[in-house]
């Protein structure tokens, strides 16, 4: 069984044979993203050390850890957003369906269209209306849309983000007129409108009230039918509720990775146990 799975994984993602594999073998689903020996640097300082991780397709993978452990950096490395800030760079490989997004000649802009991202702070574009926000990613990529297609995309994305019913009568209002939780769902809709394959969510609920948080957690679970989701959170309950797999990071190292159930009920590493039982972090 194990061998078969390894073979399957290998057929999807050609990994150099010399790399150690055990850390990656836990995932039992088809992989969408495969992180191989990824290290990230922040102004010369190491933020992540040799991360190996598989992200399962159509599942929610949570990344947890105390603040400053590199979980945001990791998720930003997955669509090459890490390097956007000057002085940052990353080394290693991240395979997306058999293509290394860090290979020379790969256009990060194309990668980001396939791997969308939602940030901690809701960031609707202040000069744009709700519907313009939703279609921003498409319009700014010079996608020509007819009125009908545009309406269809707006409705579809807002429905997916569970925001349609609340805003369908005020699509022309500015995006920043919405409440915090609505703004965050608008940002999710905006990310979904470009039809990414993977959705990265960097602490999407940390600025939200409990009701909005619950709403977004439900949404995450709904969305995994269509998207592969990576969820960074400092909230362990959230990881337990919403995710299928969990990775625990500490000081830039991947300490443990496994099915969420197992991580939370029977962690194999002492650090993980101490963290999830609240002894530090």
């Amino acid at each position: 069984m194990d061998n078969a799975r390894t073979a399957q994984a290998a057929s999807i993602v050609p990994v150099p044979a010399s790399k150690p594999r055990e850390a990656r073998l836990i995932v039992t689903d088809a992989e969408k993203l495969k992180v191989v020996d990824l290290s990230a640097f922040y102004r010369g300082k190491v933020a992540l050390r040799n991360i190996n991780l598989n992200i399962a397709a159509n599942q929610v993978t949570a990344i947890i850890g105390p603040s400053g452990c590199g979980k945001s950096t990791l998720v930003r490395c997955l669509n090459r957003m890490h390097e956007v800030q000057s002085g940052n760079h990353a080394e290693g490989q991240v395979w997306l369906d058999g293509e290394d997004i860090y290979a020379p000649g790969v256009d990060p802009v194309q990668i980001r269209r396939r791997i969308g991202m939602v940030f901690q702070k809701a960031t609707p574009f202040p000069t744009m209306s709700i519907e313009d926000n939703v279609t921003a990613g498409l319009r700014l990529n010079n996608r020509r849309m007819g009125r009908a297609e545009r309406d269809r995309i707006v409705e579809r994305s807002l429905r997916q983000a569970a925001l349609w019913d609340e805003v369908k009568d005020k699509l022309r209002d500015p995006g920043i007129s919405l409440s915090g939780g609505q703004q965050q769902r608008l940002c999710i809709a905006r990310a979904l409108a470009v039809e990414p394959e993977v959705l990265l969510m960097d602490e999407p609920c940390s600025a939200l009230d409990p009701i909005s948080t619950a709403r977004i957690e439900e949404l995450i679970v709904e969305l995994k039918a269509s998207y592969t989701i990576v969820l960074v959170t400092h909230n362990m309950q959230q990881a337990a509720r919403a995710s299928d797999y969990t990775a625990f990071l500490l000081n830039g190292d991947l300490i443990e990775f496994g099915e969420t159930n197992q991580i939370f009920t029977n962690p194999s590493r002492r650090e993980t146990e101490e963290y999830i039982t609240g002894r530090f972090g």
């Binding site: 069984m1 689903d29 159509n58 269509s226």
Partner: protein, 336 residues
């Protein structure tokens, strides 16, 4: 069994067909994204480079255009007192003198007033009224200098001649600078007019400098039992000292370079007059007055050299002021 079911899942994620449109696949771009980025970066970078080249261009052009005069007179250009276009004899000392004297008068009046206004706005007045006063002071800088000049000719100059010159002459007449006939167009008029024009600049920078003095500094002084003025002396001014010096230098730079208002009220005489009541000229005013009439290359070249001096002074003073003010105000709104 569970695992094998998952295994049989296709490598591509099961995109829910009913919601995701078929156009989902990444489209090929006509132009790779990095090309547009590189183009845009080069374009804006070129424009930024243009700003640098502009400054260099100023230096090169002014040096080139004044080379005749530079070669002919050398340093004696600045020691010569005779400015005689007819005989092609050019000594700039009278203009240097006029510039220094008018600027000195301007600073003498503007610095205490500006400090007063800045302290009043920061330490005395509530925010909302201070904002309004700051706005009015800024308006002082918005009025075109030719309007100040006009007002100087017809209002300020005559008023100073009739009301200030006699008083100064009566009580301070033993000083040579306050002797002689009273003339409306004079060093004094130009200096006073300049002071009005540079107050907004000095005030704006001083206000900004005083505003960044940490509240804790003030509270520490007050906690020692200081009065409000002692607090200003102990905490506010020392903390912002170099910023205030920078503001003054900035004001000086403005005063040196101000042209048209000065040209209108200074009388334009190429002489070193001991009395402040007498007409004179500044570096800038003589350029404004004589440039279009300058016949002959050497004459023009000498005038350009005056401009070169002005430019060098402006660059030096601005660089110094910038360094001093940045030292206090820090990265706020400047640099990164």
């Amino acid at each position: 069994m569970e695992a094998s079911r998952k295994l049989s899942a296709p490598a591509q994620p099961q995109v829910a067909q009913e919601i995701v449109q078929p156009a989902a696949k990444p489209r090929r771009r006509l132009v790779p994204s990095f090309l547009g980025d590189r183009l845009f970066r080069s374009l804006t970078g070129f424009l930024a480079l243009l700003v640098v080249l502009l400054l260099i261009g100023f230096a090169v052009v002014l040096c080139m255009q004044s080379r005749l005069s530079l070669a002919r007179f050398g340093f004696s250009f600045f020691t010569g007192t005779n400015w005689d276009p007819v005989n092609e004899e050019f000594g700039a000392l009278p203009f240097v003198y006029g510039t220094l004297v008018t600027s000195a008068i301007a600073l003498l009046i503007a610095v205490p007033l500006s400090l007063g206004v800045a302290l009043c706005m920061v330490e005395m007045l509530p925010q909302w009224i201070a904002g309004r006063i700051g706005f009015l002071v800024e308006l002082l800088a918005a009025i075109p200098s030719v309007v100040y000049g006009l007002w100087g000719i017809f209002v300020l100059g005559p008023w100073l001649r009739d009301h200030v010159d006699p008083v100064l002459g009566r009580y301070l007449g033993f000083l040579p600078i306050f002797q002689g006939p009273h003339i409306a167009v004079s060093l004094l008029t130009a200096g006073v007019l300049l002071s009005i024009m540079i107050i907004p600049y000095i005030t704006a920078v001083c206000t900004e400098v005083f505003r960044v003095v940490p509240q804790t500094q003030r509270e520490a002084a007050l906690a020692l039992g200081a009065t409000r003025w002692e607090m200003v002396r102990m905490a506010v001014i020392p903390y912002g000292y170099s910023g205030v010096v920078g503001a003054i230098i900035l004001g000086l730079g403005r005063a040196l370079g101000e042209t048209i208002a000065v040209a209108m009220v200074i009388g334009n005489r190429a002489e070193i007059a001991a009395s402040l009541f007498m007409p004179s000229s500044t570096l800038a005013s003589v350029i404004a007055n004589e440039f279009t009439e300058a016949t002959g290359d050497l004459y023009l070249s000498a005038l350009v050299e005056l401009g070169l001096v002005l430019m060098l002074l402006a660059v030096l003073l601005n660089a110094a002021a910038r360094a001093l003010v940045l030292g206090v105000v820090g990265g706020q709104g400047e640099g990164r």
